[in-house]
């Protein structure tokens, strides 16, 4: 459990970090290191150079920009978990964070690290896909941005530019008094990898009718998937056929089999958790988020 030898460098700017990456194809970025360090210890990863971006000021911080919350890639998960701004403007992410690893890993783990790692069962990518977040990247060519749905290609595979890095995640904020959220997950043990997870956000009008709805399912296939729930638009909780709509929408899922859970189980759990998260979000929205 000792990593193979490598060099370590802590650049002062993001451009310097990207230049170092471009100069050595075996160089890798390290931020919180909560996934990379086990990979190094087990020698599944053998970089020649580690470029530490965890202290770059330009990658840190949580800020509101017009209709978005922008979170710097190297912002620690614990900072987001306890941020008042995230709790008020991005409650779905706040609800998902306690499910991410354990308190000690959240003290080091970063938002951008989880996004760039693209584990199919990870909660932060799930919330990013559910809310149509934009993933901002930076490489020697400059800054770029793409929708989360295009960014996650498969298990641990992303569209991030080679020799570049994720610099920030831009989450759209849903305005209005009647926005509710729900988050559900099933795993073998608390904070273990999710067999299935569902993240839901809903906006209602003054009469309790759904005007905007988003539901993402994670852990089931090889990437988080957003389901089409447009048949629920205009409905109230009483007349919405949540289970039927969800069963139809969930047919796009491509569940995977593994040692821990069969594909059929994952599909069934995903449908149930989706319905549960939606109902949770709906009643949360009816109360104007007062119960959070």
């Amino acid at each position: 459990m000792k990593p193979a030898p490598f060099d370590y460098v802590r650049p002062q700017t993001l451009s310097e970090a990207c230049a170092l990456l471009a100069g050595d194809e075996n160089a890798r970025l390290i931020a919180g290191g909560q996934t990379l360090m086990p990979m190094l210890a087990m020698r599944l990863s053998r970089p020649s150079l580690l470029v530490d971006i965890s202290r770059l000021a330009e990658l840190r911080g949580i800020r509101r920009e017009a209709h978005d919350i922008v979170i710097g890639a190297a912002t620690k998960q614990v900072e987001v978990e306890h941020s008042a701004l995230v709790a008020s403007d991005l409650p779905l992410l706040a609800a998902a964070l306690p499910w991410v690893g354990h308190p000690p890993t959240r003290n080091r783990g970063t938002i951008g690290g989880s996004i760039a790692n693209a584990d199919p069962s990870a909660e932060i990518p799930l919330v990013a896909v559910t809310l149509d977040a934009e993933i901002e990247t930076f490489d020697e060519a400059g800054a770029a941005s793409m929708p989360a749905d295009d960014f996650f290609l498969g298990p641990m595979i992303t569209a991030a530019p080679a020799g570049g890095c994720v610099s920030a995640v831009r989450f759209p904020v849903w305005e209005g008094a009647h926005v509710g959220i729900g988050f559900q997950e099933v795993s073998a043990r608390r904070s273990d990898f999710a067999f299935a997870a569902a993240a839901a956000q809903i906006a209602l009008d003054a009469d309790g009718r759904c005007v905007k709805i988003a539901l993402g399912i994670g852990g089931v296939g090889d990437r988080p998937v957003k389901l089409d729930l447009s048949p629920l638009i205009g409905k109230t909780l009483a007349d919405a056929a949540i289970d039927t709509v969800l069963r139809d929408a969930a047919s796009v899922l491509e569940p995977t089999d593994d040692l821990h859970a069969s594909a059929a189980y994952r599909q069934r759990v995903a449908e149930h958790l989706g319905a549960r998260a939606l109902r949770e979000a709906w009643s949360d929205a009816l109360q104007g988020g007062a119960a959070r």
Partner: protein
Amino acid sequence: MRTELLVNGVTRVVEVEPRKSLLDCLREDFSLTGTHAGCEHGVCGACTILLDGGPVRSCLILACQADGYAITTIEGVAPAPGELSVVQDAFCETHGLQCGYCTPGMILTAHALLADVENPSRAMIVESISGNICRCTGYGQIIEAIELAADRLRKANTPRDLISLSPRLGTPHQDLAPADAPEKGILEAADTDMPYGGAA
């Protein structure tokens, strides 16, 4: 590479290979073997230390990444040599340990929790130690120990808002009592062996 680390209030300079984890550095270079090496890939929590007061797995951070942080190991929580912190004492009393392998990590995690939360619920205690595996106790006595420690800290006869627990961790032997802490003699006798009450 040359790295300067602030461990238990003392600045130490060490020459480490970049690939050396903070865990190995603490154990091998500083002989602080109270930090236990368990799984060495971030699963078990035996190597938990405090970084600026927050629990962190020392096997998942390189020694050369840890400069500039206040590092606290289990060796840094007792008020004086031969003494125990309130949390350590509570673990002894409730039989919160058997083989002792997970104990330093558990105790540091509990210290971090109690520094933030005066009266943690059972659910909060369980959540805070959820990343620390114990194979002996079944966790029941550990939770009991943390509840007991929380209770004693609450009852320590020192104005709580004047004292932040975290800066005290890792700085034994120093009288950090705030200027307006109660004079000696005002404290209950039972509190005088505690680092907070006793410091005054």
